[in-house]
Amino acid sequence: MKLFLKIWRQKDASTKGQMVDYTLDGVEGDMSFLEMLDILNEDLINKGEEPVEFDHDCREGICGTCSLQINGEPHGPDRLVTTCQLHMRKFNDGDTIVIEPFRAKAFPVIKDLIVDRSSFDRIQQAGGYISVNTSGNTVDANAIPIEKHAADSAMDSATCIGCGACVAACKNASAMLFTSAKVSQFAQLPQGRVEATDRVMNMVRQMDLEGFGNCTNTGACEVECPKGISLENIARMNREYLAASVKG
């Protein structure tokens, strides 16, 4: 199929960017969206032009590195997939596809479609861990009995791959879904309860410091999340935060 692409091109963080039009022929339905961009880049390189820079790593939906706002939606129109898992058969011959970087003040553009998501790393570093002494006497995590539904629910939260689609989709550029998933994966387990108060306070403080917006419960994040992280996580984080604030 033949596609008309409108792609955000930006030389570097400090240069102003703009949309550039490309026409691409010979795209097959079973290619992934990133393979389609690979073909475009081969064309560009052959013509001696700068290829379009975009993020990717695993290309199987597990690392969270690929991004892209495709026709106004993060990871494109399909549900529960990342951009690397998005098939070109979701588009039709002759379609115009608008491709932009994820937009948030806390995700500044580095080049073209690549944004700096290290704000997520800093939120994680602020409390998204448990303190375990690993100097030779580490206790096996499975030695602590955990109710099955708590373990399953914590695992669901832990499937967040930190891609940032929640922020990109949210009209407020809020990072509540990501942060709440990272709070929740520990809050539901006995090992995580130990530092629960500090964790939620510190992670929310870092999230606010990074300049993400306020959550207004539109639910866009939940719909666009490739891993199906639910709004229940945000409600849980609200509870955790209120309880922690009262404790002081």
Partner: protein
């Protein structure tokens, strides 16, 4: 505790609690207004009580005004912060693909409701203040029903009220149900709570609109 106000979650809670407070007020206001249709005598008694009871006038009324002010000032602050959190806008943003129109346009439906409050204050509150404190007229517990019905004689005012109630309904549709999520309530009862909140969001504004239209169609003939 001061950390509470600085955090995004606390601001969300302030929005939820002030909103819920206004929902309670709205219910009370609706019940009293409805008596103007079914029992004018009762409407007169209650209105007179509300207008002259010192607890209502000097304690509850200021609390109500504070509730309204907190809700809309916080709404403006959130909107400004959220707008700036995007940084560069998208060339194409398909908001309708993943969120309801109501949830994305709270600032606009809220602004219409706020503008309506201006008109409503002018229509009734300013009138009452003038009656009681400027013109210093004698208490008359029987005047309220006739005065209210008369207000809805002009079609333009009735229409403005009805349109505002539609926007209020859209605002409540997202706001009321969402306040529970903000307070951390998301459990097996949530689907039922959400349904009740949405029924409220339709029924109460519809009721207010009905009252306005009813009075417009049934003027008092002397």
């Amino acid at each position: 505790m001061s950390g509470l106000i600085k955090s995004s979650i606390a601001r969300k809670l302030v929005m939820a609690l002030s909103g819920l407070f206004l929902v309670v007020f709205l219910t009370q206001h609706f019940v009293i207004n409805f008596t103007s249709v079914i029992a004018p005598e009762t409407f007169n008694q209650w209105s007179h009580f509300m207008g002259y009871n010192p607890l209502v006038q000097f304690v509850l009324q200021p609390i109500l005004i504070a509730g309204v002010v907190i809700h809309f000032v916080m709404g403006f602050i959130l909107e400004a912060q959220n707008k700036s959190a995007r940084g560069v806008s998208y060339v194409k943003y398909n908001g309708g693909a993943n969120a309801s129109w109501m949830s994305r346009n709270m600032i606009y439906t809220g602004l219409v409701v706020l503008a309506f409050l201006g008109l409503h204050f002018y229509d009734f509150w300013v009138h009452e203040m003038a009656y009681k404190y400027v013109e210093v007229k004698a208490e008359d517990p029987t005047r309220y029903h006739a005065e209210t019905v008369e207000k809805f004689a002009p079609i333009w005012r009735t229409l403005l009220y009805v349109v505002s109630f539609v926007l209020l309904s859209l605002h409540l549709w997202h706001g009321f149900a969402s306040s529970f999520q903000s307070m951390g309530v998301n459990n097996k009862y949530s689907p039922v709570i959400q349904k009740i909140a949405k029924i409220f969001a339709v029924v109460i504004p519809l009721g207010f609109a009905f009252i306005a239209i009813y009075h417009h169609l049934n003027p008092i003939t002397h």
